[in-house]
């Protein structure tokens, strides 16, 4: 059993919130009041009066061998309590989400700039930083491998296509970065005629830069040593149990001695799926016997989490003159950076959904994930679909231009619908309203024309108040794109969630408590958990227990899956509780009653006039149920053909972007975004719209500004000064229309929401810029020099 340790100041407590709101309502967040008062404790807000501060020393080199590390000078700094290296890691020295290939602290080789090398704990963060700067590391610096194709021995596109699946003899640049080589995963999808021909063929190469999640709350947590030799970690994360598994391995401790509680999370977007400071803080706490807080600054945050995979993609689309897609060939390279992280799953998504929501009889897709000495890449909202959507949606526009067709008509002509087969051979067995999403967008009114002459308000011009144009070179464009994304974990993953629900009477009022380990990262799951419990148990007051490892795993807050899977678990646990309460009511009534249900804190039957208050029925006893809930199983795809039932559900959204481009200055202003999305069932419409608008902003950001610039393996812009995310001046009004076509396989018919709008918004912006400029634009983010030809 766990040993109670003193909880830090600001540790998460039960959330009850303002109350009210069932499934389908705009229920208020239970954490909302705390957040607007500044009282909600994020990971970086935790505090204990005897705590130390931990910092990380990181490699300045992307690729080097460590000859020696001398920590003596750091240890001598007054106020320093510990300096640790990999020698101090008691258990497994490497960790990872899917492959354990990433050192907790650098072993003999560093493989990316920013790789953690040593740790310091001191009584003030600046003391710790000054001490870390005195650690002497002797590096033998090597030339980094920075190109994914070269890392795999695929120097050019032509060569790839001459020998598509072969890894040729490794060149000097493609030295083995890991013992098993530089290939993380190669996924093949083969369908139909291997040598198809078509009337019209469009071939292009595309490139997507490295995007960052740029969540605002830095990686933070507080590790508290326990009296049993274990540790309590309060941390901002996306998946407590996968963290626990990796921490236990590194610390060589059993799970009952590594207890995690979710601290307040300031956004995640995939960037908190991998470990950051978790093991480091625990190591320092166990070594010093003191609580240790770690909180990255913004620069360190850029080095301390994985990013979205940059991609290079070659697409060939063949169609009939009437516009029917005949074939698609695609070769996709994801640069996974120095360690695997979730690259295997990103490759799985990139390949199995790599041509979009279209029906194509002949398909030949090769999707590769490679190791390089660039920053490690892993999960980010849209996970493998964002990159390919830029390519396949650009291809649809290019093909429409070649055919002289309207791009929306071309998409609708080839769109997937319910009953269609995906390129994996999987039948789409729930609504797939791709055509309706596009047609509804088309029907929305367009914003007013580009202002001219005296009507010009400079604030509305590209460049805004910098007064750089009066509209003389401004051209308007309109573009469309569709998103296609799997919901939840795929390819046979045992994707379950656990929920514990208790119903009891407190002070005369029926109260439900929901306990899951599902990470609330800002998306509103805690609200959804309350709404489901209110709906299923007919009570108003629902308390959300702090998220911790004292209950079973809920899986990751990612892949648009938590409302589906944890929502499903909470619903099922509520149903089990309800069944027991109703059974007891039947025994009290003493006869079968047909329409017994829970409502308003009572067991009621309208037909038979029964109304038993739960206070009478339950007395002091609580009814509690804990259970695991799974969606229907998926299966691994065939390794040679990529065929199989890989995905449990698809999400669909579509965007229309209207842009003004100053073609002389290369400046873009997005005038309006419109989005249609099928959400199956909007559990909380206000939160759904919030997800769509936020996802739209991140897609827009990747289209026109967001990129981690990496040169020779070195990050050029690890700050919010130089890594630009959209401000309120960059975001236009976002018009949203929600469709609700229930998925018969999902709880309440719901569909995962979070990622799809992040996928379709960027390609729509790109299409609009192309329409405004007439330029091909095959790389994102689009930069001024791409628009002015300079």
């Amino acid at each position: 059993m766990s040993t109670p340790t003193r909880a830090p100041s600001g540790a998460p407590s039960h959330l009850t919130g303002p109350g009210g709101g069932r499934v389908g309502d705009d229920a208020a967040r239970p954490d909302g009041v705390l957040k607007v008062r500044g009282e909600f404790a994020y990971g970086s807000d935790l505090w204990m009066d005897d705590m130390l501060w931990g910092v990380t020393l990181r490699s300045p080199h992307p690729y080097a061998r460590i000859r020696s590390i001398d920590v003596g000078a750091a240890l001598a700094v007054p106020g320093v309590h510990a300096v640790l290296t990999s020698d101090d890691v008691p258990g497994e020295k490497v960790y990872g989400l899917e492959l354990a290939d990433q050192p907790v602290l650098a072993l003999d080789v560093v493989r990316y700039q920013g790789e953690p090398v040593a740790l310091v704990a001191a009584d003030h963060p600046d003391t710790a930083r000054r001490a870390a700067a005195r650690i002497v590391v002797d590096y033998d610096v090597w030339e980094p491998v920075t190109d994914a194709r070269r890392a795999l021995g695929h120097p050019t596109w032509n060569q790839v296509h001459d020998s598509p699946a072969e890894v040729t003899e490794l060149s000097r640049e493609s030295a083995h970065l890991h013992p098993h080589g530089n290939l993380v995963r190669h996924l093949k999808v083969r369908r139909g005629d291997p040598a198809p021909t078509a009337d019209v063929v469009v071939v292009n190469e595309y490139e997507v830069g490295m995007q960052d999640q740029a969540f605002l709350g830095p990686e933070s947590g507080l590790a508290v040593p326990g009296e049993d030799g274990g540790v309590d970690l309060y941390v901002a994360t996306q998946w407590l149990h996968v963290d626990q598994r990796q921490i236990c391995a590194a610390l060589a401790l059993p799970p009952e001695r590594v207890r995690l509680t979710l601290a307040g999370v300031g956004g995640a977007f995939g960037g908190r799926e991998d470990l950051s400071m978790h093991v480091h803080a625990c190591l320092l706490a166990l070594h010093t016997g003191r609580p240790v807080k770690m909180s990255y600054n913004r620069e360190e945050s850029f080095f301390g989490h994985v990013h979205r995979h940059p991609a290079t993609m070659r697409y060939e689309h063949g169609a009939t003159r009437d516009g029917d897609l005949v074939y698609v060939k695609a070769t996709i390279y994801f640069d996974g950076g120095a360690y695997a992280s979730s690259t295997p799953a990103v490759v799985g998504n990139g390949g199995t959904m790599g041509i979009g929501p279209y029906v194509v009889p002949n398909v030949h897709v090769d999707c590769y994930g490679a190791y390089t000495n660039n920053p490690p890449c892993g999960a980010m909202r849209g996970f493998g679909s964002v990159q390919t959507a830029f390519a396949y949606e650009s291809q649809m526009d290019a093909l429409a231009a070649e055919l002289g067709m309207d791009p929306v008509d071309l998409r609708c002509r080839n769109a997937m619908e319910q009953g269609s087969e995906a390129i994996t051979g999987q039948v789409v067995d729930s609504p797939a309203p791709v055509v309706e999403l596009l047609r509804r967008l088309e029907a929305m009114p367009l914003p007013p024309e580009v202002p001219t002459g005296d009507a010009v308000d400079l604030r509305d011009m590209p460049g805004g108040v910098s007064n750089s144009t009066h509209g003389e070179g401004v051209r308007r464009g309109v573009g469309y794109a569709v998103a296609y994304k799997n919901v939840a974990f795929s390819e046979g993953f045992d994707d379950y969630s656990t929920a514990r629900v208790r119903l009891e009477v407190v002070g005369g009022e029926a109260v439900a408590t929901v306990h899951t380990a599902a990470a609330e990262v800002g998306q509103g799951l805690v609200t959804v958990e309350q709404q489901i419990a209110r709906t299923e148990l007919g009570v108003d007051r629902v308390t959300v227990h702090p998220k911790d490892t004292a209950v079973g795993s809920a899986g990751s807050t990612s892949a648009s899956r938590q409302t589906y899977v944890t929502g499903g678990a909470v619903k099922a646990a509520c149903e089990a509780v309800r069944a027991r309460v109703l059974e007891r009511a039947r025994s009290v009534v003493g006869r079968p009653v047909a329409d017994l249900r829970l409502d308003g804190g009572k067991v009621v039957s309208d037909l038979e006039g029964v109304a038993l208050p739960l206070a009478d029925l339950l007395g002091d006893e609580a009814v509690e149920e804990t259970l695991e809930w799974r969606h229907r199983p998926t299966e691994a795809v065939d390794p040679e053909t990529g065929q199989g039932f890989a995905h449990v559900q698809y999400a669909f959204s579509a965007h229309r972007a209207v842009v003004d481009v100053d073609t002389e200055l290369g400046l873009v202003k997005v005038v309006e975004m419109a989005c249609t999305q099928d959400v199956g069932k909007a559990i909380n419409p206000q939160a759904v719209v919030g997800q769509i608008q936020g996802g739209t902003a991140q897609g827009l950001g990747l289209a026109v500004m967001e990129e981690i610039l990496v040169r020779d393996g070195r990050v050029q812009n690890p700050s919010f000064t130089d890594y630009l995310i959209p401000t309120v001046l960059d975001m236009p009004p976002v018009r949203v229309e929600i469709l609700e076509y229930a998925d018969p396989h999902a709880p309440y018919g719901l569909r995962g929401v979070g990622e799809a709008p992040n996928i379709s918004s960027g390609p729509a912006v790109l299409a609009a810029i192309r329409q405004a400029t007439g330029l091909p634009l095959t790389r994102v983010p689009v930069r001024p020099e791409h628009l002015t030809g300079t």
Binding site: G266, R459, G524, F720, V728
Partner: protein, 162 residues
């Protein structure tokens, strides 16, 4: 160094402040007021926006010593205990709070904007709201609901003579 200043109307005194510490660090780590957030600590994101003698500033860019003898206002001081300021209420109702890390800074910036425009007997236009909030990054919402919240708060406060 001993720092004396007024925070949210209460005189505060802190000892052993190191000269390199920011006002943000002192508020969060020495005064127990973590409401102002530490998202970038380089004045780019606005999450740590506080009032300094009535003007909004990034607390991360203010050396603690610069606050000597001055008045500091943080998100914790926007409303009396147990109450909500109209701006806080509007952010909740409009769905402008997701992860909430940007929220404290946005609340102070919004309060400043609507207070200034109310003093001029008007509500801020959309372009003015966008300019006023351009220094506050939000990664979750796409800003649309934040704009809704500001409009809602401005409308309500316009009718409030305080």
């Amino acid at each position: 160094m001993r720092l004396s200043c007024t925070v949210n109307g209460t005189p505060r005194q802190v000892d052993d402040v190191w000269e390199g510490e920011s006002l943000l660090y002192v508020l969060r780590e020495r005064m127990g007021l973590p409401g102002s957030k530490n998202a970038c600590e380089q004045g780019e994101c606005g999450s740590c926006t506080v009032y300094l003698d009535g003007l909004p500033v990034c607390a991360c860019l203010v050396a603690a010593g610069q606050a000597q003898g001055r008045e500091v206002g943080t998100v914790e001081g926007l409303a009396p205990a147990g109450e909500l300021h109209p701006v806080q209420q509007a952010f909740l109702e409009a769905g402008a709070v997701q992860c909430g890390f940007c929220t404290p800074g946005l609340l102070v910036a919004t309060d400043d904007l609507v207070t200034r425009s109310r003093a001029e007997g008007r509500t801020p236009a959309d372009a003015e709201i966008r300019e006023a909030l351009a220094g506050n990054l939000c990664r979750c919402t796409g800003y649309e609901k934040i704009l809704d919240a500001v409009r809602l708060a401005a409308d309500r406060m316009a009718g409030d003579p305080r």
